[in-house]
Amino acid sequence: MADVSHTDERIKQTSRLRQALIRPELGGIVGTVAVFVFFFLFAHDSGMFNAQGVMNWSVVSAQFMIIAVGACLLMIAGEFDLSVGSMIGFAGMMIAIFGVTYELPMWIAILITFAICIAFGALNGYIVVKTGLPSFIVTLATLFILRGFTIFIPQTLERKTIIGGIREAAEGDWLAAVFGAKIGKPIFQWLGDAGVISTFERGSRIGEPVVDGIPMLIIWALGLVIFGHWLLTRTRFGNWIFASGGDADAARNSGVPVTAVKIKMFMFTAFCATVFAVCQVMEFGSAGADRGLLKEFEAIIAVVIGGALLTGGYGSVIGAALGALIFGVVQQGLFFAGVESSLFRVFLGVILLAAVILNTYIRRIITGER
């Protein structure tokens, strides 16, 4: 008891459980384990856990992850972006317009699209911080504006709302490959030859493995998660993100450039949406005016499941990534388990509600509110 003078009798020793409980990732970790146990018990023989099945839900989860990272950092900075879904549709359409209709080289089309979309993100952020209006309303307006353009532009130029031929236009393009290619093909071929993963037994691709590589989409998802987590927890800018969302006035008083932080986060969210869109059009080979519908809410749900507070100032990119994983595994898992797919929405509503209640409770523990 030599250390007694340095301890405060009023500070209760907290249990490890309680300490673990206030980590934002907790809900995501528990949920992930629960979801995998559940589907392992009820769908292990459905092909969900063979190479093809794993690739199936990994791709879906990776899609959610890409937009969840942007939404997560933005939410921690204290703002929302409801225009993510429209941005995905709009970005895909821009690539089709520039790359197919105007026949620009695909890499130029992709770069122009990134520039336009990030500019829209900056505009969102600028309006929010300058007017002080809730980002909810400002980005709701952007949601409609972008969706309107996404339908209007191809209809005016091409008299249709789906533009195909992107895969052909992107053939051999270096930048398109960064979003649309698959990597590790020799390894998968070797795994196929070795019998670890099954191969096609007939048809034109006979002898090729059923999973022939890891799509760049997954690489982007993992890269963005690592980058986001690093930015948030290890850099000075990360501290500013927390501060801007926690209390913008207090942050400003301490010299944090809150305005710049928020605008940059809106731009980053737009960047993530555009990455999603480019990967999607490269995979499908076409752009449609209805792409990305409701994605903004799916991103927000993944972030909330991941432990972030809707009010800002608290959250975790790893948590958001786990939220996205839960999302993808359940969506595809219900299909594998042969459950009516409309029940997915019921599940989504229930898990969202549970996550928000848990998060509010955790917030009370952290801040000592009663």
């Binding site: 405060d8 907290t14 850099t235 000075r236 501290n239 006035d249 008083n253 100032g313 952290i366």
Partner: protein, 259 residues
Amino acid sequence: MSEPIIQMKNIEKHFGSVIALAGVSVDIFPGECHCLLGDNGAGKSTFIKTMSGVHKPTKGEIVFDGKPMNFARPRNAMAAGIATVHQHLAMIPLMSVSRNFFMGNEPIRKIGPIRLFDHEHANTVTMEAMKKMGINLRGPDQAVGTLSGGERQTVAISRAVHFGAKVLILDEPTSALGVRQTSNVLATIDKVRKEGVAVVFITHNVRHALAVGDRFTVLNRGTTLGTAKKGEITAEELQDMMAGGQELAVLEGSLGGTV
């Protein structure tokens, strides 16, 4: 006594047709706790905002460290060493103590061109600073939300001092605190003063002012009623000056002298 660190000479501030300050002069010396007293609407807030660069005086001169000063922004005042600790706008409850402590002044650890937040340094410094101020933390990652109001003020004050504040303006730091928390904050003020920092302590509580103050300036309706030294003035006199010698007289008996 040494040279004043900051001199406010005949400061006037008008907002449109309202005269918030009508010629206030105050000298503040390093290592003293200068109490600025006044009732609501006396012009205390306007006065300290002028001092910290938020407002520009309509008339009058501010001399800081021997030079006339003209801060365009609060940030410039902060950089020069004038720090303001606001009662509510100081800390972010959801963030850890060490993240709060270094908010806006994050220590950087460079790995090549990459600049990282140096958590190790931040944690060590925070723990040391808190120990010095008598706050026992469970760890540097403890959230500020778990601290009491008084402890939060103390963290904010020691943060300002750590980052080189020469003049520390405390805007009603004790007005929402309980008895024990108040005494903690007052003890903090005493420690800071002994380090040679000039403390400007804004309050409307005479007893809090008398507990730590070296000199007292009373503001009333935009003018100063003079500055008194410790021991030259009683609580009753201060109180009368704050209230402008009105209303309180009736209640004096039942309030037992001080409010």
